[in-house]
Amino acid sequence: MLVCLCNCTDDVSLLMVLLDTNPFFWSTSKSTSLSFSNFLSHVLAFLNSVLLLNQFNQVVVIATGFNTCDYVYDSSSSPTNQRAETLLRKFEEFVVKDEQLSKEDTVDGIGNSLLSGSLSMALCCILKSNSNDIQRVFRSGSLHPQPRILCLHGSPDGPGQYVAVMNAIFSAQRSMVPIDSCVLGVQHSAFLQQASYITGGVYLKPQQLDGLFQYLSTVFGTDLHSRRFLQLPKPVGVDFRASCFCHKNTIDMGYICSVCLSIFCKHHKKCSTCGSVFGQAQTNAPSTSNQKRKTPDT
């Protein structure tokens, strides 16, 4: 049982790291700038430094696979020596499992990894550790480590996961867990951009991928308490304007399905997303402009 004796624990972090292990992404990335082995060495060094920053820091690594995701490493339950070895062994097991679950021989494009799944797992882990920690707080009088999620993601967004990912983002927002994101792929990620924006985390797309460790330790290494005093990269802002489902045009004013919140630029008889049948829009409501104008009276 770990009992914290010092009271100044505002800089203790619980860091959930989500590693993208989409094999198709990494096989294309190999030729460009960052191979998976290089990536792992950067990340391992980063995890070590986080654990060295504070002896009560906790790191949990979740692998975001193509077919599944799983916990790969938890610093609180692993022996302090041979961290890298444990992590890599579990990683190999995970890759094997992920491969076994795959059904198709080839994939169109580079596919998407299961971001929604790993985000949900991270949140579960945080909430579970929080509930454990509440007991610990009462016993030792110290605060529980402040949780945050770091997404190291390379695969493009999976549109099919939209609802699940957004749900995860909003529950993270509710439980005050910031989601930091570091995008390794060629494209920006709309998911992670929104996730970081909504939860107040940092979104970063490094230009120099061979200096990944430097980015990680400079931007994502700091705990939440210290962040208040630091000037971290700020988001440029997210354009929340929606585009209609029917023509993908950006619109300022439109129709919304009251059942599933789909957006349309003109009135439809039936919602194309959820199949709800709409009533007649009230276009010919009596307008006040027809009424005779009156000058203001006393």
Binding site: P23, W26, S27, T28, S37, N38, S41, H42, L44, A45, E85, L88, E92, V95, S102, D105, T106, G109, I110, P156, D157, G160, Y162, V163, V186, Q187, H188, A190, Q193, K205, Q207, Q208, D210, G211, Q214, Y215, T218, Q231, L232, P233, K234, P235, V236, G237, V238, D239, F240, A242, S243, K248, T250, C260, S262, S272, T273, C274, T295, P296, D297, T298
Partner: protein, 635 residues
């Protein structure tokens, strides 16, 4: 109208302690005139009753003088001292009549005057008070009021016309209530003919209908009633029984009320069958005999023969409460006992008929019992009819947002080309495994990051951070306004509210149908044009750090004002075109284009040079309108 006029001797005083100027007070229908005996001492008075708000007077009999104080609408008052109280009273009555009449006349005359909004004399004092109260409560409103109403841009009426809701909120008009019975108990009620006795004692009601006037006079009837009440008040059932045996009619009053009892039984039948009285037993007083009222135990010993002559206080209380709650069911001119009794009887019959009409009430009651006493285990689960949400393709949601989200990050469509992975699944996984084993064997590279690359990263990050440092306003946690100096912030907010106020009035005046609106729009336009230089001043006054943000904030204000001006000009042009000043189509087109060009350039160039020939008449007008800016016109 009031009867002619009244002329009395009186002294006019400016205050109560003032000795006063003796003279003649003459009161007429619409005004009163005071003429001093000595015209040199003070000038004569002539005041309309319209302006008199109320009057006060001293009480007769005290050692005071006979004073009449007429208070004026705008404050101030006229005090008159009369020689005696009777003179004063005559005048007082006259003033009372005259002021009410003047008030009514004012009301009727205010209806047509509503068309001319400038007429503000007729706002009721109540309304005025409400406005003052609102202004006192809301500092911002007060500022606006001061700026526009006192500044003469808007009239009082215009200002408040847009805030009717604010005013209405305070006037929760009292709905006139129909008076019910007083809650006073019958014990001390005289046999008054307001139907209360009949309502509370149906037996008396029945007896009245039966006996009066055939068997006895009304007087005898009430005598007997009072006798019975007396016997009740003695609380001696034995004596009551004895008297009842002798007098048949008296017995009617003394015995328990049959009608009442049957009515109670009927009511009990309507009570929810599942009501559990026992469950309430723990409540205060209910478990006590006679509801906690003190009572004499000795009387309990009396046996049943006299039971019907006893009346418990709680019964009377209950009955009384029920009648008061029911309220008056008849609207008969009170006075004649007979007619009241008959009217009550009619209304009772209607009630009974109504109840009888739903004859299947008993059946309903049985249904209710079976409904309420349902056995939950045997019921099917009652779920509300639900259609499960069925989303065919959640990808649409993503697509509808992704495009915009990525645009802001500077991703071009070219970059989003799909990379083709030319490996099969097994090959891909194989290479991934290879990578892992590679690092297992080789271990972490040393150094992890080359110094040059680390330096590059630092540089990049620093640049990125310093460039996004002033990207404010996009982050919901910080507001640009909070970073500005307080004075600038307040000023900006104030300008924004005043622009809103002006624009609200401006746009609500269109289409211009009356000359009044035309004048109003002109006033508003002048006021709006005065805001431009003020905004410019703010921009110039702030430090260079904030100037960009301030100009960003000012931008929408300017746009809103520009739109109003553009509309004003277009409207003006339309009017002038209609009004005979016909320029040909080409000229008009060109001038409109110029208009917009000038509006666009307004802030870039403060001096515009245009030759005379290129100036159609409406453009000259336009330049005159925007006289705030300096235009130099070369001939």
């Amino acid at each position: 109208m009031a009867s002619g006029k009244v002329i009395k001797r009186a002294k006019y005083k400016s205050s109560v302690k003032d000795p006063g100027v003796p003279g003649i007070l003459e009161m007429m229908d619409d005004r009163f005139i005071f003429t001093p005996n000595n015209p040199k001492l003070s000038s004569s008075l002539s005041v309309q009753f319209k302006l008199i708000k109320g009057h006060k007077f001293t009480k007769e009999g005290s050692h005071k003088h006979a004073l009449l104080n007429l208070t004026q609408d705008q404050g101030g008052s006229y005090i008159f001292e009369f020689e005696n109280f009777s003179d004063r009273d005559v005048c007082r009555e006259f003033v009372g009549r005259a002021t009410t009449m003047a008030g009514e006349a004012g009301k009727t005359s205010s209806e047509p005057s509503a068309v001319t909004p400038q007429d503000e004399q007729l706002i009721s004092t109540q309304e005025m008070e409400r406005r003052i109260k609102l202004l006192q409560e809301d500092g911002e409103l007060q500022k606006l009021h001061k700026q526009f109403v006192i500044g003469g841009i808007l009239t009082e009426a215009e200002f408040w016309a847009t805030r009717k809701k604010l005013l209405d909120r305070n006037t929760s008009s009292v709905i006139k209530q129909r008076a019910g019975f007083k809650s006073a108990m019958l014990a001390d009620v005289k046999p008054a003919a307001d139907g209360r006795i009949f309502a509370e004692k149906p037996a008396v009601h029945q007896a009245f209908l039966k006996f009066v006037p055939r068997k006895m006079t009304e007087k005898d009837f009430w005598n007997k009633y009072c006798r019975a009440e007396y016997l009740h008040s003695t609380k001696n059932p034995v004596a009551a029984a004895a008297e009842a045996a002798e007098d048949e009619e008296l017995a009617v009053f003394l015995k328990n009320d049959d009608v009442w009892a049957s009515e109670a039984r009927r009511k009990i039948r309507r009570v929810d069958p599942t009501l559990d009285m026992e469950a309430d037993e723990g409540d205060d007083y209910i478990h006590l005999p006679d509801h906690g009222l003190s009572r004499d135990d000795s009387k309990d010993a009396i046996d049943s023969p006299y039971e019907e002559y006893r009346r418990s206080l709680s019964q009377v209380l209950n009955r009384h409460g029920a009648v008061v709650l029911e309220g008056r069911s008849i609207d008969v001119e009170l006075g004649d006992t007979r007619s009241v009794a008959e009217a009550l009887a009619r209304s009772k019959q209607v009630e009974l008929a109504n109840e009888a009409s739903d004859g299947n009430a008993n059946q309903e009651r049985l249904d209710r019992i079976s409904q309420l006493a349902e056995i939950e285990d045997l019921q099917p689960p009652r779920d509300p009819p639900l259609a499960p949400l069925f989303i065919k393709d959640p990808r649409d949601y993503f697509d509808s947002q992704q495009a915009n989200a990525l645009k802001t990050l500077g991703d071009t469509l070219v970059e989003t080309r799909q990379m083709k992975c030319n490996l099969s699944t097994s090959e891909a996984y194989g290479s991934l495994r290879e990578c892992i084993s590679e690092i297992k064997i080789a271990g972490l590279s040393d150094p992890i990051v080359k110094p040059e690359i680390a330096f590059k990263v630092f540089n990049g990050l620093t640049q990125n951070i310093s460039s996004t440092k002033y990207h404010l306003g996009k982050n919901p946690q910080e507001s640009v306004l909070d970073r500005l100096p307080n004075i600038t912030k307040d000023e900006l907010l104030h300008h924004w509210t005043s622009i809103q106020e002006l624009l609200k009035h401006f746009w609500s005046s269109y289409p211009i149908t009356t000359s009044y609106l035309y004048v109003k729009v002109g006033r508003l336009k002048d006021a709006m044009s005065q805001i431009y230089p003020k905004l410019q001043e703010i921009k110039e006054s702030v430090q260079s750090d904030f100037r960009h943000q301030v100009s960003l904030l000012v931008q929408p204000m300017l746009q809103a004002l520009d739109a109003a001006f553009a509309h004003y000009d277009a409207d003006l042009q339309k009017r002038s075109a209609k009004g005979g000043d016909r320029t040909n189509g080409y000229d008009r087109m060109r001038s409109i284009k110029l208009h917009y060009a000038i509006i666009g350039l307004k802030f870039k160039f403060r001096r515009i040079t245009i030759s005379e020939r290129a100036l159609p008449s409406c453009l000259v007008q336009f330049i005159k309108l925007h006289s705030v800016f300096y235009f130099e016109i070369l001939c």
